[in-house]
């Protein structure tokens, strides 16, 4: 068997004394947590260990002795060896350093007093045991204590966690946090060497913020409950209001923000790692969002930029309408040399031109108020950049309503034709669609039915190119708008769900999020066991995104490109918010 001893790096220069730590069951490994220095009373050590044991889950025991050669302490070695009779144990480790050597030797004493030596020296080779080998793994106590192994296993039962030796080591060191509170300058019966915090950065400010955040959180929770009560009153839950609010991205964003703030402001302490990280991520991205929003406001409300924006908006709308009208006139003639059905072409073209006329008069009616509307709407940016973007998306949707209307008319006509053609094509072949069995059955038609059907099929087939052309042009226009809205949604979603805190932790404190460990061979000297250095292997950046991103609607699977193309071909309507409705279904 190979014995693994996990030894903290800070203890390699400690004075002689006792090794305190715990055995990891079934793994044949021992974790050394601290060294108790020489002038001690065994009773006090035992009392102290039971005290710590009651505070933590760790089964803390005395593992063995540690001897560091020093001048004037020559009799120390034999004294420390005799200590093994005082403390109960099954195996007693004796680690000892020698002057002028970097590594140290280890001897293991079994309970029966059988003396086993890892590295035989001259004259003592007779007691060497081949089966007992020792690996000493050095670790950085602070990093191991603070790091979190991924994938995170918190809800998993304890017995399953213990399967992995490394996980057990990490768990033990993290659990024995109360042991590290004793400072080396404290006056007490025991002197210990272990990891010491050298003061925390700005700890007073952090403590004050912690104290101050409790009433703020309570106030926020109260305000949020008031807000959700307002949202739940009956007037807002009438079907049309509900439908419109579920389609406006501002309202959706408002819902998300409320939910996030409720998570952050809950006064319950986040005990689990994932919960804590989620809260921190939401909080940091909220702060970033607010800061960006305020920057936008500072830029927007200077030098009368709102007025300029409003004065350019109406001419742009006019220009778009003019272009559309020209496009329609082009379609009503012989577009690209195609010969269309003249009557249908004229009807469709006139219909759409009338629509544009309506739209333009509507815009001109609105024009005196546009600057005021923009001014008030711009204020929404103080709620965050995401709100400003959502409002922009909604405004684009409202201002391009005519394009949407054209698209819907075109798509409906086209869809009708496609369906009619497909069912008449079945009739043409003597088949029909059986609704009950969801399949195509053969069917015998009358002569009259066949005649009418064939006639209708011919008419539809010859009218199809005209409709298809209108549909194609308006679908392209609609796709441009949808693409723009999709980009805005993507930006909002990125701001909402990006795990900024976890990313910062990964960049500034890479050891906090560990994927695993890596080993380095420390020194090879004759007569010493193998010394390894255990370092933390930080998690990959892509994995940080995968583990910690805040779930929003875009995390759900959305339509594939093939499905989109199929929809476009058949003439079904496409929306930028389609993925949201599929989530609720």
């Amino acid at each position: 068997m190979v014995l693994k001893i996990f030894f903290p790096q800070c203890c390699t220069t400690a004075d002689s004394g006792l090794l305190v730590g715990c055995w990891i069951p079934d793994q044949d490994s021992a974790v050394v947590l601290a060294v108790v220095h020489y002038p001690f009373i065994p009773g006090q050590v035992k009392r102290y260990l039971t005290e710590i044991r009651s505070q933590t889950d760790v089964d803390l025991t005395v593992l063995g002795s540690w001897s560091m050669p020093k001048e004037g302490q020559e009799g120390m070695d034999s004294f420390l060896k005799d200590l093994s009779t005082i403390f109960p144990h099954s195996r007693w480790l004796q680690l000892s350093r020698e002057i002028g050597k970097r590594g140290f030797t280890c001897q293991v004493v079994r309970k029966g007093g059988m003396f086993l030596k890892e590295q035989a020296k001259e004259g003592e080779g007779s007691v060497r045991d081949e089966n007992e080998k020792v690996i000493i793994v050095h670790y950085d106590q602070r990093k191991v204590m603070l790091s979190q192994l991924h994938p995170v296993q918190e809800g998993v039962s304890h017995s399953k966690m213990e399967q992995s030796a490394l996980r057990a080591v990490f768990h033990t060191v993290a659990q024995s946090h109360p042991l590290f509170f004793i400072d080396k300058y404290d006056d007490g019966p025991l002197k210990l060497t272990h990891w010491q915090s050298e003061g925390r950065e700005a700890s007073i400010i952090a403590e004050l913020v912690k104290q101050g955040s409790v009433p703020v959180c309570k106030l926020l929770t109260w305000m949020l409950s008031l807000w959700s009560w307002l949202g739940s009153i009956r007037l807002l839950n009438v079907p049309p209001v509900r439908f419109i609010s579920s389609k406006l991205s501002t309202c959706v964003q408002l819902g998300y923000r409320t939910e996030h703030l409720q998570t952050v402001s809950s006064t319950r302490k986040a005990t689990e790692h994932m919960e804590f990280m989620r809260k921190a991520n939401i909080f940091v991205s909220f702060l970033l969002d607010m800061a960006l929003g305020l920057l936008l406001i500072a830029w927007l409300y200077r030098e009368n930029r709102i007025g300029k924006l409003a004065s350019t908006l109406v001419p742009v709308a006019d220009h778009v309408a003019k272009e559309l009208r020209e496009l329609l006139e082009w379609l009503m003639g012989a577009p690209a040399g195609l010969k269309m059905n003249r009557a249908l072409d004229q009807v469709l073209g006139r219909f759409f031109i009338y629509h544009i006329h309506l739209w333009i008069s509507y815009i001109h009616l609105m024009s005196p108020f546009i600057e005021m509307i923009l001014w008030y709407v711009g204020l929404s940016a103080c709620l965050g950049l995401t709100f400003a973007l959502s409002v922009l998306s909604d405004m684009v949707a409202l201002l391009t309503f005519h394009i949407y209307c054209f698209y819907v008319y075109g798509a409906r006509l086209y869809c009708l034709k496609i369906y009619g053609l497909s069912s008449l094509w079945r009739l043409f072949r003597g088949k029909k669609w059986n609704v009950l069995r969801q399949r195509v059955d053969s069917c015998s038609y009358d002569m009259d039915q066949l005649f009418i059907g064939t006639l209708l099929f011919t008419i539809l087939l010859f009218l199809l190119p005209t409709t298809a052309l209108y549909y194609l042009v308006f679908t392209l226009l609609r796709l441009v708008v949808v693409l723009f809205q999709g980009l805005i949604h993507l930006a909002v979603d990125l701001l909402n769900s990006f795990p900024l805190f976890a990313m910062g932790l990964r960049v500034c404190r890479p050891y906090r999020l560990a994927e695993g460990v890596k080993f380095r061979v420390l020194c090879e000297e004759e007569g010493t066991p193998l010394h390894l250095m255990m370092e933390i292997n930080p998690i990959k950046v892509s994995a940080v995104l995968q583990y910690y991103r805040t779930p929003t609607y875009s995390c759900y699977p959305r339509d594939s490109w093939m499905a989109l193309c199929k929809k476009l071909f058949v003439g079904e309507l496409i929306y930028p918010w389609k993925h949201k409705t599929t989530k609720t279904d």
Binding site: V2, K4, K133, Q163, A165, K518, F519, L530, L532
Partner: protein, 180 residues
Amino acid sequence: MADDSLTDIYGNRIGVACRCHSDLCREVTVSGPKLSLRSVLVYTCGVWLLAYAAFCCTENTAVLSCAIILTLVGLMVYIHFFKVDHESLLIIGSLGVQLSSSYASGRECTSFIEMSKIKDVVINEAVYMHRVIYYLCILIKDPADPHAVSSVLPLFQSSKPRLKCLIEVYKTCQEILAQS
């Protein structure tokens, strides 16, 4: 025991070094062929000649600066993410196996597999393009069923050594695996 006569499956020279830290710990390092100056020159000249041809047609100097930036960025990306300088395998008895590959820019990718997860180390045969190659791989235990293999992790993926070299590494691995 550095042996320079070893080659990879394409016939390029590779270096294999085995260090024995103690009875329990061995380290095998396989270093692939270095980045050759000739291929760098060929690619750079190719891109620049193309850019110069485009410049002659369009008379736009932006094409040339684009080509220079493209070459530099491409070279950096290649040596940072694709060109593996050497791969090493550290086997520690009863603790685990550590695989690390270091790239030409100095970036290192390390992963450590605990001994409790390892079922065995074997040499596999695989059909690769139009030939059959051998590769060393670690069989990972299924956590639910200790007798089943959940996944296979190939070793030395970028510098594919020949069977002769693999057998040596295999023997080293088995020696240590048998001890624990």
